[in-house]
Structure formats: structure tokens, C-alpha cells
């Protein structure tokens, strides 16, 4: 019996995710859920870069810009409007618009590769400087807050009912559900014709164009979709921490996202989730336990990791599982 792993794999993952969403809140303590929610939100952000970079081949060093724009758009909208439904949409749409403009500027100018990385990094840093300086600047009734950011953000509420706000458990479930949905959606997007063209462009742009596809348009759409996901992550982040601040635009955070995707395995989806979650968990753990300077530990982990697990977590695990099943014989082939 041949099993279609391409469908079962993601379905199983989605199923596990939803099961966890349902079960965990009653099994583990609230503060664990709070930490997990943070990891989940960062995983969504990592997925956005996994799409854009891992599959699209676009080295975007400024994915944090869309994350931050999504967060700020959501928060400013929420402070002005009071009900979170429209602000959530704003948090997704504003980064998309920004990405469409920036993407048009970049892809239709045939900028690629590391040069694109520098431009996107610069864009993120420009936003950082602007927001940092604009403490008293107001949009509607919301002051941008400058370096302090905008704290005290109320949680997402049930659409139309501003008073029914998400609890910690609710935020956890909503974020995890979002992660599962996005993961499944990306999986199907990448398996579709559109996805295949995107991957083809990443492997050889010239060849794909010669086959008749407009690479610029495909990259632009990928970029915008990635920005939407990053924006949603920003919204969920602002909901999780009840704050948004300009440090999300800093080079340090921009590099973090790249690191997560690299550790998880460039060119994978679940790998990005694993990379983000594990690094976040390790960083949190290091902060709670004073063994040594966290930078030393993290540095050593990364270096050793690269030397031992160069392709990233998921490819390595996949190789290992593949070798296991090959050893077992002919039953069940992992693709």
C-alpha cells in the first residue's frame, strides 16, 4: 500500500498541533503556555522567512520590518478603534502594501541575492531610526512612543465584542491554530503550480523565465505573502506581550530570524518552526539559569551545530529517519 506522504505528513502535523491546542491548556500551567505562545509567534515569523528565502530564494534581511509594521499597525489601530477586528486586518494588510511597494521597487529593478539582503536590512534600520525618534508623534490618538514602544495593549477580543478579550489560554490556542493553518496553507501553496514555479525560480531564474514565467511577478507575490504572514506574527506578538517596540526593527532581531531558519534547515517549513522554537527555548532557559554568559553558550551551540548538522535540523532528522527506514527494508518509503 502506497501512502501519499505529501498529504499525510502535513495532515498529521496539523492534527498534532490542533490536539496540542486543545489539550495543553488543561494539562500545563499558564506560565508555560505564555512561553509557548511566544515560541509559536516566532515560529510563524520564521515560516514567513522560510517561504520567502527557503523556497523563494529571496534573502530578505528585513523580514522583521513586516513583523514590526504589522505589530504597530495593529496596536495603533486598536488604540484608536477599541475593537480588535479591523486592527488585526490592518496588521496584515499594511505590511502587504509595504511589501508590494518595496517588492516592486526591488524585483522589477532586478535586484537580487546579497544586494537585496542589504536593501531589506537598510529598510528595517530606517524604520528603527524613524520610530525611535518619533516618541511624541501621534497617529490618531496613539502616540508612537519612541524607544519605549507602545505598552499596555489590550488583548484581541471576539469580533464585535470589545469586552470579551482573550485570556492567556485563549491567546495560546489562537496562535497555535494560526500556526497550524498557515503551515498547512503554505504546504499546499508550495505544492501547487504557483509554488513549483517559485521553487523553479529559486533554482534557476533564467531558465524559468525562458520557459515563459515572469519571475519578477512570482517573486513579488511570494514576498507579499511572506509579509502578510510576518505581519500576522506581529499582531499575535503584540497580543502576546501587550506591547510593541522599535527593537523589533533592529539588526539583532533581523539576524535572529535568519538564524532560526538556517538552524531549522533552509528550504523546509517545519524546520523553521523547530529552529525558532528551540533557539527561543534555549535562550529563555539560559536566562533562568546562570551557567555562563548566554552569548558564550549560544555561540558555541551555533558553531558546533554548523559543523555537525550543516543542513539544519529538519534535513538532518529526515536523513536519519530515511536511513532508518532503508535499514528496515522495503515497507514504507519516505519521500
Amino acid at each position: 500500500m502506497k501512502l501519499n506522504w505529501a498529504v499525510i505528513g502535513p495532515a498529521a502535523a496539523a492534527g498534532c498541533g490542533l490536539a496540542l491546542a486543545g489539550i495543553l491548556p488543561s494539562v500545563v500551567e499558564t506560565f508555560v503556555l505564555v512561553d509557548l505562545t511566544a515560541y509559536i509567534v516566532m515560529s510563524i515569523l520564521a515560516l514567513s522567512l522560510a517561504l520567502v528565502w527557503g523556497y523563494g530564494g529571496i534573502l530578505c534581511f528585513g523580514q522583521s520590518a513586516f513583523f514590526g509594521l504589522g505589530g504597530y499597525a495593529y496596536v495603533i489601530g486598536l488604540i484608536n478603534l477599541g475593537d480588535s477586528t479591523i486592527p488585526v486586518a490592518l496588521g496584515i494588510v499594511v505590511p502587504m502594501i509595504f511589501a508590494a511597494l518595496l517588492g516592486y521597487f526591488l524585483f522589477y529593478g532586478r535586484v537580487g541575492d546579497i544586494y537585496l539582503g542589504v536593501i531589506t536590512l537598510s529598510v528595517s534600520l530606517i524604520l528603527y531610526n524613524l520610530i525611535n525618534s518619533g516618541a511624541q508623534f501621534k497617529i490618531g490618538s496613539a502616540a508612537i512612543g519612541g524607544n519605549n514602544g507602545i505598552p499596555g495593549v489590550p488583548p484581541i477580543n471576539f469580533p464585535g465584542v470589545p469586552s470579551s478579550q482573550l485570556s492567556y489560554e485563549g491567546s495560546f490556542q489562537l496562535s497555535l491554530a494560526a500556526l497550524v493553518i498557515i503551515y498547512v496553507a503554505l504546504h499546499f501553496l508550495l505544492a501547487s503550480n504557483f509554488g513549483r514555479v517559485v521553487v523553479a525560480i529559486r533554482s534557476n531564474e533564467l531558465r524559468t523565465e525562458l520557459l515563459g514565467y515572469d519571475a519578477r511577478l512570482y517573486k513579488l507575490v511570494t514576498f507579499v505573502v511572506g509579509a502578510a504572514i510576518a505581519g500576522l506574527a506581529g499582531v499575535l506578538f503584540a497580543n502576546w506581550g501587550s506591547f510593541i517596540g522599535p527593537t523589533v526593527f533592529s539588526i539583532f532581531f533581523s539576524a535572529q530570524i535568519i538564524i532560526w531558519v538556517m538552524v531549522g534547515g533552509l528550504g523546509t517549513l517545519l524546520g523553521a518552526v523547530a529552529g525558532a522554537s528551540i533557539i527561543q527555548a534555549v535562550t529563555t532557559w539560559l536566562g533562568s539559569n546562570k551557567i555562563a554568559d548566554p552569548n558564550i553558550i549560544l555561540g558555541i551551540i551555533f558553531i558546533v551545530f554548523v559543523l555537525l548538522v550543516p543542513k539544519g535540523i529538519q534535513p538532518r532528522l529526515a536523513d536519519w529517519l530515511r536511513s532508518l527506514s532503508a535499514w528496515r527494508g522495503s515497507s514504507g518509503k519516505l519521500t
Binding site: P10, Q136, T247, A281, G287, S288, D293
Partner: protein, 415 residues
């Protein structure tokens, strides 16, 4: 078929399990809490803000040791649970939630940057965890659950600026780091300057990490102010003073600073560069009182003679913890409501900086301010002492006795 696992589900569950287990991970120094009083702190003990966080943590450690050595609090020993936020606001949020929901501590002392404070203050307010913010900042916090023991700009500038104006002249050039503390201090400077018949001729704001001051130094020379006042943070100090004295400007225009010395700069920077900078703080290591000598002696004993410069960032934590301990003793219980009432009852202690008392209306401190000038031998020379300096509260907007439900950081629109 039964053993053929989907690699993806393995990864999925594995990821969740690892993350869950890791976040439950063991914490330092807590096997069995027994009958100890647990208090918490979140400090930046690594990365950018490490110098500041480390001194604060040391002072807290010393305070806890002293409390325990003299019999503890309410007959029980005090235990300090520490989290290293690694100069990262997201970790502040995570650890604040842990302290509130898992560790269930009686009080949290901590926070350095205002952005971090504003992240955790609502968390502690929501979870009814008493919170002390012991760092000089831009002022305005008005929250019944929060007590701020650091200086506010008014307390500093209202004493520093008139001194400089009287001594050097009426035209001022402001150099500020471009973030809330710097921006608000600049506004305060303008206000106090005009109240004293002086004028800010120009203000320049710098990115937090820039180190290139050439154009600014030229512009200052063009403007010829009577003196300069700055609110640099971190790397900018050494860069600016180094370039300033390299340009031979050190003896041309005097400098005052709201932040110089708080990172131990007096010990590290060459004296020929630092000499003459005027500052005004609640605490300086050079304070010549009996209580400070005892404090320094204890620090030396605990941390070795080479513990660097302590400064007011560290001592604020020490004084903050002593204030809380005093209130607990007065209330006779750890119950938050009772402790808040005790804190609001006009409580005071004698700290290394002298008398420190809590203002019930603003939940900020009334204490001494010392004005000093950096000398030739890596020490500050104290020039003046101001007593019982009240915290800033423009138009009395913050009144936690009359309006205890206030929970906000006031932005000084009046400025």
C-alpha cells in the same frame, strides 16, 4: 506499517515537547523553598546592558544578605530569584510572567530601560505582583502597584542646571541620545533653563549607537554656548569625550551630564579626558558619610576590592529593597495591600545616599541629590548637597492617594 513514522509528526511533537520541557527547566538555587520569602528580580546580566544590570544585581544580593544576616524578614529568610533578560524586552515579558504566575514572588525589583519597564509594569499590575523600578528614568509613572526609587529629570536638572547657569553662563547646547529619556530631558532642560533666565541655543539627538561626533563638535564651536549638557548612553560617552578632548575642546566649553558615571565611566576613562564633567545624582561612591562607608566596606568584603564603580543605578536597587523590607516590617505581613499602605504611610530609611523616604502621592522617592565634578584622579569631587529633593509631578497630575486607580505613564505635555 505501524513503525513507519511520519518524520513531520515526529518533528512536530518533538518540537513541542522540547519547548515545553525546556521552559519548565530547573532554576538556579531552588530545590525546596521551605519557609523562605521569595522575591524576584529581572536584570540585564548579558549583552548591551550588562554593566548596569550586573551592578544592580550585586547591590540586591548585598541587601538580601544583610536582611538575612540580621534575622530575615518576619522571622523568615529571604530568597532572591534572578532572571537574566539579556537586554531583550521580549524576555522581560516572559520572565515577568514567570515571576508572577509560577514563582509567585512577594515583590519584584528590577528593570533597566524604560521600554522594559513599560513591558512588565502592566503584567505586574494585572497579576497584583508588587513592583519596584529602581532606575533613574524620564518620570511620569503613576501606578499604585509600582514604586519608582530612581531620580526623575526634574530632581536632577532642577539642581544641576541652575548651578551650571550661575557658574558658566546662560546659553546651553543640549546633546541627547535619541530615545524617550533623552527627548524628555531635553524638554525639561528647556523649561528649567527659561525659568532661570537661560536659553537652549541648540539641541542635537543622536542614534543610540553612533560614535561619530565630528560634525557636532564643529557645530558646537560655531554656536559658542556657555556650557553643554548631555544625556548619552553607553558607547557614546567614551566616544564623545575622547573626540572632544582630542579636538582640544576640553578647556574651552564646560560639560554637564545626566548620565556620565553611571556606567563606571569615571574609573575607565582617562582622567585627562573626563576631568571637569559636572553631574548630579542621588548617590555617588564618593559620598563621605558613615552609612556610605559601611556600605562600601560591605561591598568590598562581598565582591572583592575590585568591584568597579557602583553608582546610583546599583544603590537605587539596594535602597529600593530596604524600603520594601521596612514596609513589610511595619505592615507585619507580606500581603500586597498591607505593604502598599505601609509604603504610603511616609516610610523612610537611611541608605548609602542618606535619608530616603517615599512620597505617598507619587510613589517616588524624596532624597538627597549630590552635585559633583569629575576630578583628576578618577574620582568625583562633591561640590554641593541638596536635601529632601522631591520628585517631579507637574501640575500634580499624579495623585495615587486621591486617585488610586491611576495606571499610566504621564507624558509631560505641559513641557
Amino acid at each position: 506499517m505501524s513503525l513507519d513514522v511520519t518524520r513531520r509528526s515526529v518533528l512536530r511533537i518533538g518540537t513541542g515537547a522540547i519547548a515545553a520541557v525546556a521552559s519548565l527547566g530547573p532554576r538556579l538555587g531552588l530545590a525546596e523553598s521551605g519557609d523562605k520569602i521569595r522575591i524576584g528580580t529581572i536584570q540585564d546580566l548579558s549583552s548591551f546592558l550588562q554593566p548596569f544590570g550586573t551592578q544592580k544585581k550585586r547591590c540586591l544580593d548585598l541587601a538580601v544578605d544583610e536582611i538575612n544576616a540580621s534575622g530575615g524578614l518576619l522571622g523568615r529568610q529571604v530568597e532572591l530569584i534572578t532572571y537574566d533578560s539579556q537586554s531583550n524586552d521580549q524576555l522581560y515579558a516572559q520572565f515577568a510572567t514567570q515571576l508572577a504566575l509560577r514563582d509567585k514572588v512577594a515583590v519584584v525589583h528590577g528593570g533597566l530601560q524604560s521600554s522594559a519597564r513599560e513591558v512588565i509594569r502592566p503584567i505586574f499590575h494585572r497579576t497584583n505582583t508588587l513592583f519596584f523600578y529602581n532606575t533613574p528614568y524620564e518620570g511620569g509613572v503613576c501606578d499604585r502597584n509600582c514604586f519608582c526609587t530612581g531620580t526623575t529629570p526634574g530632581q536632577l536638572l532642577e539642581n544641576l542646571l541652575p548651578y551650571m547657569i550661575k557658574k558658566y553662563g546662560k546659553t546651553i547646547y543640549v546633546l541627547a541620545a535619541d530615545y524617550n529619556f533623552g527627548q524628555l530631558s531635553e524638554k525639561w532642560t528647556r523649561k528649567i533653563a527659561s525659568e532661570n533666565g537661560a536659553k537652549v541655543v541648540a539641541s542635537e539627538f543622536f542614534p543610540l549607537d553612533v560614535a561619530q561626533f565630528g560634525p557636532t563638535i564643529s557645530k558646537i564651536q560655531a554656536a559658542k554656548p556657555a556650557f553643554i549638557i548631555n544625556t548619552f548612553v553607553g558607547p557614546a560617552h567614551a566616544s564623545f569625550y575622547g573626540q572632544w578632548s582630542a579636538a582640544g575642546m576640553k578647556n574651552e566649553i564646560p560639560i554637564a551630564s545626566q548620565t556620565f558615571g553611571e556606567g563606571g565611566e569615571i574609573l575607565r576613562m582617562p582622567p585627562e579626558v573626563a576631568e571637569g564633567i559636572t553631574v548630579c545624582y542621588n548617590y555617588l561612591d564618593e559620598i563621605d558619610t558613615a552609612s556610605n562607608k559601611v556600605f562600601l566596606q560591605r561591598m568590598r568584603t562581598k565582591f572583592g576590592s575590585d568591584f568597579g564603580y557602583i553608582g546610583d543605578l546599583g544603590v537605587n536597587e539596594y535602597q529600593g529593597l530596604l524600603l520594601w523590607a521596612e514596609a513589610v516590617k511595619k505592615a507585619g505581613t507580606l500581603d500586597r495591600e498591607a505593604v502598599i499602605k505601609a509604603l504610603e504611610s511616609g516610610i523612610s530609611i537611611v541608605g548609602p545616599s542618606g535619608d530616603v523616604s517615599l512620597d505617598p502621592v507619587t510613589h517616588h522617592c524624596i532624597f538627597n541629590m549630590y552635585l559633583a565634578v569629575a576630578g583628576k584622579d578618577r574620582k568625583f569631587i562633591i561640590q554641593e548637597k541638596f536635601e529632601k529633593v522631591r520628585p517631579t509631578n507637574p501640575n500634580g497630575v499624579c495623585d495615587l492617594i486621591k486617585r488610586p486607580e491611576t495606571n499610566v505613564q504621564f507624558q509631560p505635555e505641559a513641557l
